[in-house]
């Protein structure tokens, strides 16, 4: 039994962080918005979680505020690219830089006065709770996407916003909801990344790059919330156990570091040669500039 709790404690926090972020990414991109701001907002989420948890004295406050601010970013991006014919790539990457920059500024005052860190409890009970919480959220997202009118509207907006609008979808509202939901999860994931997975004394740029990793985890599973469980678990599992791998395989640490990424690539190949392929195709209008009065031929 001990080894079970050990594994859960080793993998669950990383899993929850990557999984929630990846699901959030998938939900947002399903609505047709290319989400390149993810890493910036993730990094900002980490900084906010750290700062707020420390100020409020409880990790939960950190998660809540990170969720709210990230969701605001999501709504903003969705509004801009849907209301105006704006390049998704340009606004996404610009906001990524905003996120990077603000993360340093947000955490600066408190980081310079204390080395303390407030985090979630280090217990297997908490970790199991976190694991269940993350998966339940993912399943709910899946349910919404597949079974509800909202989900159909999100998918319609992602496939063809012009046709969706003609069918009676309020594309703007739909994408804003997708942005709020998606980025709420991303903010939550970022907060768990710091407060549950790696609560070390804060240094500038902490968490950077992990948004991209979640991006890859999501795409490796074709943005499908249930399949993402597998890709996130494989990734988090390999990442948390790289030293074990190194021992077993007798490989250089640099090579074992690559394994999680190589596994993600392998997962994509496997998904694409199976009949799942159709379900996992990217939304057809992903990243396409949307101008309502465009000549659609």
């Amino acid at each position: 039994m001990v080894w079970v709790t050990n594994i859960i404690m080793a993998v669950a926090p990383a899993f929850a962080a990557y999984y929630l972020t990846a699901v959030g990414h998938g939900v947002f991109e399903k609505s047709g918005v290319l989400n390149l701001a993810i890493d910036g907002v993730f990094t900002l989420g980490v900084a906010i979680a750290y700062t707020v948890a420390l100020l409020a004295g409880t990790a939960y406050a950190g998660s809540v505020v990170a969720l709210i601010i990230a969701a605001a970013f999501g709504a903003f991006i969705a509004y801009m690219v849907t209301k105006l014919p704006i390049s998704h790539g340009a606004i996404g990457l610009s906001l990524m830089f905003v996120g990077y920059g603000l993360s340093a500024l947000v955490a600066m005052p408190i980081r310079s006065t204390t080395g303390k860190v407030v985090s979630y409890p280090l217990s297997w009970v908490f970790d199991i709770g976190l694991l269940i919480f993350a998966i339940v959220l993912g399943v709910i997202m899946h349910y919404i996407l597949v079974n509800t009118k909202l989900g159909a509207a999100i998918r319609a907006a992602g496939e063809n916003p012009h046709a969706a609008s003609a069918l009676g979808v309020d594309v703007l509202k739909t994408r804003i909801i997708a942005g709020l939901l998606g980025y709420a999860l991303i903010g939550l994931g970022a907060s768990f990344f710091f407060l549950a997975y790696s609560p070390a004394p804060y240094s500038e740029g902490m968490g950077m790059g992990n948004g991209w990793i979640s991006f890859a985890i999501s795409l490796a599973a074709g943005r499908h919330p249930l399949l993402t469980i597998a890709s996130a678990a494989v990734f988090a599992g390999l990442l948390s156990n790289k030293f074990v791998l190194q021992g077993i395989l007798g490989l250089s640490i640099h090579i074992t570091n690559m394994i999680p990424y190589a596994a993600a690539l392998a997962a994509m190949v496997i998904f694409m040669v199976t009949p799942l392929k159709r379900k996992l195709a990217p939304p057809r209008s992903l990243g396409k500039i949307y101008f309502k009065e465009e000549r659609t031929v």
Partner: protein, 405 residues
């Protein structure tokens, strides 16, 4: 009351000048507020560092690399193939140049300290600054002409970048696997490969390099020549930039290949019906993009780094993430080649502004708490977000519609 966006009958007069200008003012203003509110950075300092950096020769090197990479990315982007993997392709370029520069074009010989003296002044020989673990000196000796060495470095770097992109392109062309994800993931693999190489095959031989994740230093004869006004830019880099730009302009504007890759971006079906293999084009555009990005690896290695140094954390690669920044450059140029230098100029000056700002902050408070990177990010982020949003108003306008639906 509702907002409706319609296309202007004629583009806004002078929009091309007014809008960037307004964006910079508004964006800098927003950045200043954020900097002051969150970190008490004096606004005056922000304005002066930006003013200085717009005309600073220091940003030349960033500009050169951003132009080359902007061109490298614009080629596949026009074909709607999204290469997010310039980072990895640059890293492969670095490794390949290091392999040529450190193993093929030069050999390193152990000599006793007395023998080392013999080599001083011998053409093509260079005594490494620090001795080996065994107390012996190391002399780097050219095994070919430096011109040939440099040429080989560039060729192999380009091939290596192309090869790395080729993998993703084949997966896209034959298995239909999203290249955004594969090229991104492969960046991380490349970073770790780089670490593997500096601890393995390319590990240096002197006491200060061996076991520390450092390679030998590059022989001075193979190093690019600095442009004197700039502390970082090199003549070779500028030459490559001009060459790449002209080549890309010719391909995109004057060849059927360039035309068809643009059509691939908007209507691949039309290409198929015309009898053109879409797969070949997907593979070609991505490999060309990787080949150009690979060259930047050489510019980094032979122009600035001279030595491979391990990556401590995955977020601080030797590329300074310029492969990602370049994505922004190509999108800012609206995938139009002519816009690349302009976009690169803005981004490079903002980069420089961050560095300048940090330096002046440091001189006031004696050691700033915020890195120049973070300051740069704030500036780039706010200015370019504003620009991205405002630019649509040169072609579109917002109307307020009253009345009920």
């Amino acid at each position: 009351m509702r907002l409706v966006v319609t296309r202007r009958i004629k583009p806004l007069k002078f929009g091309g000048i007014i809008i960037p200008f307004l964006s910079i003012i508004l964006g800098v203003f927003l950045a200043t507020i954020a900097l002051y509110a969150l970190a008490r950075v004096p606004p005056g300092l922000v304005y002066s560092s930006i003013g200085v950096s717009l005309v600073s020769p220091q940003m030349l090197q960033t500009f050169v690399m951003l132009v080359i990479l902007g061109v490298a990315l614009i080629i596949p982007f026009n074909a709607a193939i999204w290469n997010i993997g310039a980072e990895g392709q640059i890293i492969w370029g670095m490794i390949a140049s290091a392999f040529i520069g450190l193993c093929i074009a030069v050999h390193y010989i152990y000599v006793s300290p007395s023998a080392a003296a013999q080599y001083s002044g011998v053409p093509g020989a260079f005594i490494l600054p620090t001795p080996t673990a065994t107390g012996k000196e190391v002399v780097a000796k050219l095994s070919m002409s430096p011109q040939a060495g440099v040429a080989l470095m560039l060729i192999l770097a380009s091939l290596a970048g192309a090869m790395w992109a080729l993998i993703a392109s084949l997966m896209r062309a034959f298995l239909d696997i999203d290249e955004v994800a594969t090229t991104l993931i492969m960046n991380y693999i490349a970073y770790y490969l780089y670490n593997y190489v500096v601890y393995g095959p390319l590990q240096g031989v002197t006491i200060s390099t061996s076991g520390f994740g450092l390679s030998n230093p590059l022989h001075p004869a193979l190093q690019f020549s600095r442009i004197s006004v700039s502390t970082t830019a090199t003549w070779e880099g500028v030459g490559i930039m001009i060459g790449v730009f002209i080549m890309a302009w010719f391909i995109l504007r004057h060849t059927t290949f360039g035309l068809r890759l643009r059509i691939l971006g908007s209507n691949p079906n039309a290409l198929k019906a015309a009898g053109i293999s879409v797969r070949k084009y997907i593979v070609a555009v991505l490999t060309i993009s990787g080949a150009i990005a690979g060259l930047v690896g050489t510019i980094f290695f032979a122009g600035n780094m001279y030595q491979l140094m391990k990556i401590k954390t995955i977020t601080t690669p030797p590329t300074h993430n310029i492969g990602y920044t370049a994505i922004l450059v190509s999108w800012l140029s609206m995938l139009d080649l002519r816009g690349v230098p302009f976009a690169a100029y803005i981004v490079a000056s903002l980069f420089q502004a961050g560095i300048n700002l940090q330096a002046s902050l440091g001189s006031i408070s004696g050691g700033a708490m915020i890195s120049s990177g973070a300051l740069t990010y704030v500036l780039i982020g706010f200015v370019l977000t504003t620009f991205t949003i405002l630019r649509v108003f040169s072609e579109y306008r917002i109307r307020i519609v009253r009345g009920r639906g």
